[in-house]
């Protein structure tokens, strides 16, 4: 089973130009708002016509602009879950799920609807109207409706974004359950980094209509191929960098030499580290310079219920005024318990930028 996609479509802001192949593993499509994610799904579903391209699903041609083939949406057997679910408001849950099953005899249709309701934990709600359902139930009803056509591929457009935060983790778990049972190409569009990581096995990072990265999610997060992908996957700390020798890099903006785990070439342009990978260590005192350990001062901080983000200045205290004073070199994220332990320590603190956590980015 494979979905092969190659589409190009000129949009007002940029040109969507994407090609990839999705197998049975769920593929997360990550990108900022307006990167062309939804448009890509719409092209695959047959709701938009690309300028050029070819889409095949298990060898079945859905689109081939060169041969003037454009299979209409109704014949594609591609299930789509819309962002706000688009449940038909004048039909009950059962009528929504059974919409695509009108050709079946009544008994078999009812049987199928009941099975789909059970599978999506909607049993007992079949006679309700969409407006009488919670957000999570609406999402599951839309999913059941899409599964009714026994789709050869499943497209989910921001399936969790319309839900309240407290509902998300539960709904996400159920989505994951459906996902793992569905061993066919499944594409999930999201702008939420963690959602993409949890639900997708492979990842496609989209930026202004282009594929910025495509591959196994662990690999993309550990070794982002570019500065752009590092940013899009949530990395906050970057410095311009220069290769020195072997696996030593000079971080120009951070004013220090750092050892990295990879052998670097002259082409290194940036070095980066994720905010939660920054480690605070006890200093052995001035003079005893340790590898990858840098003194730092606190500029400001910002709290969430369980974590704290520390904005740090390297090498010298935040003196001066205005913009100069606000300048931040690194931002670190730590659990509050840990923060409680070292907040009373006198400044400067010392951060360790572990070679395993640092990644080098080519130009």
């Amino acid at each position: 089973m494979a979905l092969e996609v190659q589409v190009a479509k000129k949009l007002p802001e940029f040109t969507l130009d994407v090609s990839f192949t999705a197998g049975d593993a769920p593929l997360g499509i990550l990108g900022p708002s307006g990167a062309g994610k939804t448009m890509l799904l719409r092209c695959i579903a047959g709701l938009e016509r690309p300028d050029h391209g070819r889409i095949t699903l298990d060898g079945r041609v859905l689109l081939d602009t060169e041969r003037h083939i454009h299979v209409p949406a109704r014949n594609r057997r591609v299930g789509m879950l819309f962002q706000h679910y688009a449940l038909f408001p004048h039909r009950t849950v059962a009528e929504n799920i059974g919409f695509a099953l009108g050709h079946l005899p009544r008994q078999e249709r009812e049987h199928r609807v009941a099975a789909l309701s059970a599978r999506t934990h909607l049993s007992g709600l079949e006679d309700r109207y969409p407006r009488e359902l919670s957000g999570g139930e609406q999402q599951r009803a839309a999913l059941a409706r899409a599964l009714a056509i026994e789709p050869e591929a499943l497209l989910l457009d921001e399936p969790l974004s319309a839900l309240d935060t407290h509902l998300r983790s539960q709904v996400e778990a159920q989505l994951q359950e459906t996902f793992s049972a569905y061993r066919k190409p499944a594409l999930l569009v999201t702008h939420n980094i963690e959602e993409a990581y949890r639900l997708g096995e492979r990842l496609l990072v989209l930026s202004r209509g282009r594929v910025a990265a495509f591959g196994a999610k662990e690999e993309i997060f550990r070794h982002p191929p570019s500065l752009e992908v590092a940013r899009l996957t949530g990395c906050k700390n970057f410095s311009r960098a220069r290769a020195i020798s072997g696996n030593i890099v000079e971080a120009l903006d951070w004013g220090c030499r750092l050892r990295v785990s990879q052998t670097v070439t002259k082409l290194v342009a940036h070095i980066g580290i994720r905010a939660h990978h920054i480690d605070f260590v006890e200093s052995r005192g001035a003079g005893a310079a340790e590898e990858n350990v840098v003194p730092c001062w606190l500029v400001r901080s910002s709290e969430t219920p369980f974590r704290i983000t520390l904005y740090l200045r390297l090498h010298r205290p935040p003196n001066g005024s205005g913009e100069q004073q606000a300048h931040v070199d690194l931002q670190a994220e730590v659990f509050k318990e840990k923060w409680e332990r070292f907040r009373e320590h006198p400044l400067p603190w010392h951060v360790r930028l572990s070679p395993d956590s640092l990644f080098v980015l080519p130009e």
Binding site: A45, G46, L47, P72, A73, R74, N75, R76, R77, V78, G79, M80, F82, H84, A86, F88, P89, H90, F99, A100, G102, P130, R131, R145, A146, A148, I149
Partner: protein, 223 residues
């Protein structure tokens, strides 16, 4: 006093009901056809569809007379088939339908445009044909608006005078509708008869408008 001839009431009702049915189908078809099209040419199409609303009914009636007359393009064809439209009951229906068409078209289009197009797209990904998208999704969701358009069209058809007189004339018991009966009653100085028909017309129209108000208030909440 001579017994009242009730025929204008029945002619008016039969004409309006038939004309409204024609308008409902034609207006819906035109609105659905137009909704999925864009372009400069569509402005002209809209103009043509709305013309009967802005032209004086006598002009509409005269144009229809030219079209359906013995020497008109449609009249000639019908004559060959052995049918004459002018000064017959079908003429009252044609006049009323043409004049009420723009109201149906406008309301139906507005109602269809209000339906979120994602419902149509969802239906398409679920394998629905365009006819099913229209009949199972678009029409039920646009129904309150379509119903309002139907009632407006019926009211307009009931009140039609100018075009009817031009195309169908005043043949008592055949083409004389209520408005035409009133006009000729006044002309014949039969004030009592004119007042009676006026009252009947007011009652019917008022009932329709009250019904329209009730229905549009009672429409279901969307989504």
């Amino acid at each position: 006093m001579a017994p009242i001839d009730w025929s204008p009431l029945w002619i008016s009702l039969e004409t309006s009901v038939t004309a409204t049915l024609v308008t409902l189908v034609a207006g819906l078809a035109a609105a659905a056809w137009r909704e999925r099209r864009t372009g400069a040419a569509m402005a002209l199409v809209d103009g043509i569809f709305l013309l009967p609303l802005v032209l004086p009914p006598t002009v509409v009636g005269f144009l229809l007379l030219l079209l359906f007359g013995r020497h008109g393009p449609l009249g000639k064809v019908l004559l060959r088939l052995g049918a004459t439209v002018v000064f017959s009951w079908p003429a009252t229906v044609i006049a009323a339908a043409v004049v009420s068409f723009p109201l149906m078209y406008l309301t139906a289009r507005a109602a269809l445009e209000q339906v979120d197009s994602r419902f149509f797209e969802a239906a398409r990904t679920l394998g629905a044909s365009e006819w099913r998208v229209f009949s199972a999704i678009a029409l039920p969701l646009a129904w309150p608006g379509v119903l309002a358009g139907t009632i407006l069209s019926f009211a307009r058809a009931l009140g039609e005078f100018g075009a009817t007189l031009m195309l169908a004339g005043n043949i008592p018991g055949k083409t004389a509708t209520i408005p035409i009966a009133i006009y000729f009653a006044v002309e014949a100085d039969d004030v009592q008869r004119a007042v009676a028909w006026c009252l009947i017309d007011v009652v019917i129209s008022l009932a329709l408008l009250a019904g329209l108000y009730y229905w549009t208030r009672a429409r279901w909440v969307r989504r």
